[in-house]
Symmetry: C2
Subunit: 645 residues, 2 copies
């Protein structure tokens, strides 16, 4: 098995996952195949939806003499006629629905191995939301014990060890930690179907976050039994990679149509609010005229089109950097999901999410409603403003009430005057205070807000503003004209240097600007836009400012300065000795060669690459955060930009 | 031409519109056909999208000798090979884009008539957003003058008279009023393309509302040049019936894909976030491999699939009663649209919208964010609470802070105790104060809120609560136990009667309960649910409570009482003498036979039907409000339930 991150957004990731039967792109959806009754044949699924992986139930095969015999003789791939990856479930869910299933936990793992399942699942103990903590604890203990005994039986099969723990986050985290310590390959989050069914999405979010916190980040995570697309974007944003759907068939049998935004009874619909091939071929009344079996099949196809479309949308959102926008938009369609998003505001979760949040994106940040101000990106900006931004001037001009916020902005004329006067000023924006020097940095210049935001956001931002303005001299704009001749405002600091220093500190950490800019500075600007491009210090090119996100690209000479000026482990990615020759050749750093890393580095941060003795080797850009670098065995950790030959 | 309302939600309507070339369901989209260069043939559109109506440009045909000749000889339907309804544009937009087009305003109307256009358009003066008021006024004046002269030339063609007025609402309203006075058939709202292009949706909303306010409500309204589905739900909710799209082709030529939520460059997409037949057939990389012309065609087809899917979704939302939910969800994807929604909070607009808002819906009210509390339905509830609800008890128990709001609710046990004690209480809900007696009435019991709502909604609701509690004795729940033995709380009012009275007043108006319930009351309850069903007063069945919305159905005997107890014109729909025999037979009332109507009646309200001498004829349920009843020539105004033989 390999599993490597290709693209990322929020705490979600787009990965390449491989089994014996080929590669699978994640996030992805596994349609559930009932080996007794296939409503849609796996081959047909592959043709229509590009299905790369599916799931069937080994317990159903096992207890049916005929299926069992055929599966053991020809393998599960022949049995259901599918040559992609096949995951098998173990009977745990059946034990939840029908009570004890009388199955030997090791026997069913061996059986899955023997029928050639690509990913087999242990027979874990399904924890229900109604359990007491003691009951849940008992189930977790037994699940861990069974996982322990199952691992040696897996052979060449990948083994899925399911995380249980009912609605108790500490149990979920504990279970995840324990299972991560085993030689397992795949981690379903189990026992969530009752939460899904009763729309207890807040609890579901807590379960996912607790499991993710305890889990090895380099392994695929499957939200077991979550087949409604409504939950896909949020679950992916929290780091789930796989989902399975029996819902497509179950809902179709029940005459219900799945949509990205919910479910409707087919009979209640006068028109089909969907453009999938089924809904483009038939009108509602034409579907009504089909015979019952054919109509159910068409509803099932529709349900799968919608589910796979949401997966494609999520993958496009990860690559494009608009996953949070998608998550928040989907939450506006369901009040329980709206509540679930509030869970993410809790400091522990926000801190965790910030660790995985890319430092820059291809798409601007779009406001969707009261949840937006709690995005990890904004949380990071607020945090860094207080820990990394060193005000270079004592005087701050705050614009008077009524001034248009950042994205619409104060007039160009005012900016021109202020810049000319070398006056430091802070813009009162929807994102909080923006010191002038930072106003081109992601996400400040790359955000789109309505003219009017909601009260809740205003209050949250006001707290940040208040904290920021404490101990500062505040001059309102209307007072400015009367005092502008006073000496205190006549300063002769180079504005460009102020911008470069402030951004460098915000991006690389406190002290970075001092290390980078010690010497004679020469600033090369774009002839077309007049914007800062390259910064030359004492004749050597140290950093370049990127037009798209207003952040710096680190050059080798800049790396030398930061290596000297910032103490170990700051900004470092440490590679093992056997990787050193490759890095020197300019090759990128693979995760398995990372020995350690600055815990403050975030995905897409600029970094310096050193050997185990802290000798500088190269500069580059991270693709992973620290915990990921140390966990992953596959894929790139740092894209090397320039190396010391 | 006929145009009649079949279904409705918000101020939107689903209508049947007919031309010489057949029936068209509205809201609908007219793809723009360039007669010189058809990217997708009209026939193909009909096959794929069920296109019932399209638009082409008479000016382009007129100035091309060959096209002109063919069109005059064979008709425009043959020219573009389409046998559905065809609308033609006049060259106004070309004059905006290219400057003066040197075209005689009457000549181009006659030309459209002569080539057999189903709907021709006058050559109006395109008003731009940058115009001064004087300039805009001049344009409006000339547009009205041209419309005046054009009407006599229309022949059998339907004539579209375009409403102009730049961004000046009073000019828009004036123009709409003047044009409504002519014998015109169809009303485009013109000059909005520049607003669309610069995403000035707030201004667009003001333009639409002003036009609608001035317009004859019985005529179709077309938002001219608005081809992006992003704006469709909001525009429909404000009463637009038609849209046209040249965007599908223009965007495709430019390599851009339209989605319900915005636009993306095809080249920026790694996967296609869509399930339409094009995006289900091709992956992004397969589309990339097609030759340029074929790829552009496929993008255009995708753009039309998405646009028509949004139309289907809107029509399903109107029928299902979830149009506001759709509008608010779509607004969360675009900050400018989010701003535009705020315009609807302004009192004049809210009042106008409330006039058209149905009194009951098939679907529960779903909270989507800060805009929800400003829905016309909630505005109506708040208004009626202060004008129609007569508190029957002096003591009010308000639940203490921290009590779960209505939809999640206080415990059943508490309700049981309070009801037993005959204590009047008010629930502190997300919708504002809910007196116990009203807690089954739409939308109070039919609404779904998150546990936590936004600050802005809380503040708005608090204002209503404060006003409600003024001059009331407030007892907090924790105090209640200590005083529950006091006499003041020992009351002996029949709870069911209280509920019936309160709902009757809220629904029919002040004084209704007195008129309806004067006598011996017998309440028949559902055996299964224990809920109130039929109310018998002095032996006659006066009203029935509906399970789905907690509102009353009016019986003939109830009608007799309300006719007697409520002064003319309250609750009345007055029909002309020639309709009397039909109403007496139990036939429904068509709009053209309505002489007058209580201005307080709303769509789906219960009403009494009288003749011109105020003699009671029947009871029924309205489908239209007063202005609509007086304006429409086609379709039903009141569904008669029971009549006096």
């Amino acid at each position: 098995m390999t599993f490597e991150i290709k693209e990322r957004d929020a705490a979600g990731r787009l990965c390449k996952f491989t089994t014996k039967h080929g590669a699978v792109t994640t996030p992805n959806l596994l349609p559930v195949i009932n080996p007794n009754k296939m409503m849609i044949l796996p081959k047909e699924m592959k043709k229509r939806f590009g299905t790369e992986i599916l799931i069937t139930n080994s317990y159903i095969i096992y207890k049916d003499t005929k299926l069992r015999k055929k599966a053991l003789e020809q393998g599960v791939h022949k049995l259901i006629d599918f040559n992609g990856s096949i995951m098998t479930d173990s009977g745990t869910f059946q034990s939840y629905v029908y009570g004890d299933v009388k199955l030997d936990p090791l026997e069913i793992v061996r059986f899955q191995r023997d029928i050639g399942s690509d990913i087999g699942t242990i027979l874990d103990i399904f924890g229900t939301p109604g359990q007491t903590k003691e009951e849940a604890e008992q189930g977790v203990k037994e699940t861990i014990a069974r996982a322990n005994k199952s691992v040696p039986e897996k052979g060449e099969m990948l083994l899925a060890c399911t995380i249980q723990g009912s609605v108790y986050p500490d149990l979920r985290e504990h279970c995840a930690q324990q299972l991560s310590g085993l030689n397992a390959d795949f981690f379903p989050i189990g026992g969530v179907v009752p939460l899904m069914e009763s729309q207890r999405y807040s609890d579901l979010v807590r379960c996912i976050l607790a499991a993710k916190r305890g889990l090895d980040p380099s392994k695929p995570v499957h939200l077991f039994g979550a087949g409604h697309p409504l939950i896909f974007p949020l679950a992916v944003a929290l780091g789930c990679d796989f989902f399975d759907s029996s819902a497509y068939a179950k809902y179709a049998n029940d005459g219900r149509m799945i949509f990205q935004w919910g479910t409707k009874k087919f009979n209640d619909l006068s028109e089909l609010p969907c453009g999938c091939p089924v809904c483009s071929k038939y009108t509602a009344s034409e579907l009504r005229e089909l015979d019952a079996k054919e109509r159910t099949l068409q509803l099932a196809l529709h349900n799968l089109y919608v589910s796979f479309t949401e997966m494609k949308t999520i993958r496009a959102a990860i690559t494009g950097g608009w996953l949070w926008e998608l998550v928040e938009q989907r939450a506006s369609v369901n009040p329980s999901l709206y509540d679930a998003l509030r869970v993410l505001r809790e400091p522990q979760h926000l801190h965790w999410l910030e660790n995985y949040e890319p430092t820059s994106k291809k798409t601007a940040l779009f406001y969707t409603g009261p949840q937006t101000i709690y995005r990890p990106t904004i949380f990071r900006y607020h945090t860094r403003l207080f820990t990394r931004y060193e005000t270079l001037l004592k005087t701050t001009i705050v614009f008077p009430e009524g001034t248009k916020p950042y994205s619409m902005f104060y007039s160009r004329e005012i900016i021109r005057i202020l810049k000319k006067k070398n006056v430091n000023f802070v813009v009162d924006s929807h994102l909080g205070p923006i010191p002038f020097e930072l106003d081109e940095m992601y996400p400040l210049a790359q955000s789109v807000f309505p003219d009017e935001i909601d009260q809740e956001t205003k209050e949250k931002v006001q707290q940040v503003v208040d904290r920021f303005l404490k101990n500062k001299i505040v001059i309102h704009w209307d007072e400015y004209n009367t005092i502008k001749e006073k000496k205190s405002l006549k300063q002769n600091v180079d504005l460009d240097i102020r911008r470069i220093s402030a951004v460098a500190d915000m991006q690389f950490g406190r002290g970075a600007s001092k290390a980078l800019l010690d010497g004679d500075i020469n600033i090369i600007k774009s002839k077309r836009t007049g914007k800062i491009r390259n910064i030359i210090c004492d004749g050597s090119h140290v950093i370049s400012m990127r037009a798209e996100d207003g952040l710096f690209t680190l050059k080798l000479d800049g790396g030398r300065r930061l290596h000297k000026g910032l103490k170990n482990p700051l900004l470092r990615v440490v590679v093992t000795d056997d990787a050193v020759p490759f890095v020197k050749e300019g090759k990128s750093v693979f995760a398995k060669f990372v020995k350690d890393c600055d815990p403050d580095l975030r995905p897409f941060d600029e970094c310096i690459i050193v050997n185990e003795n802290d000798t500088l080797l190269a500069v580059g850009r991270t693709l992973l955060n620290r915990v990921e670098m140390l966990a992953f065995c596959h894929g790139m950790a740092v894209k090397t930009r320039e190396s010391i030959k």
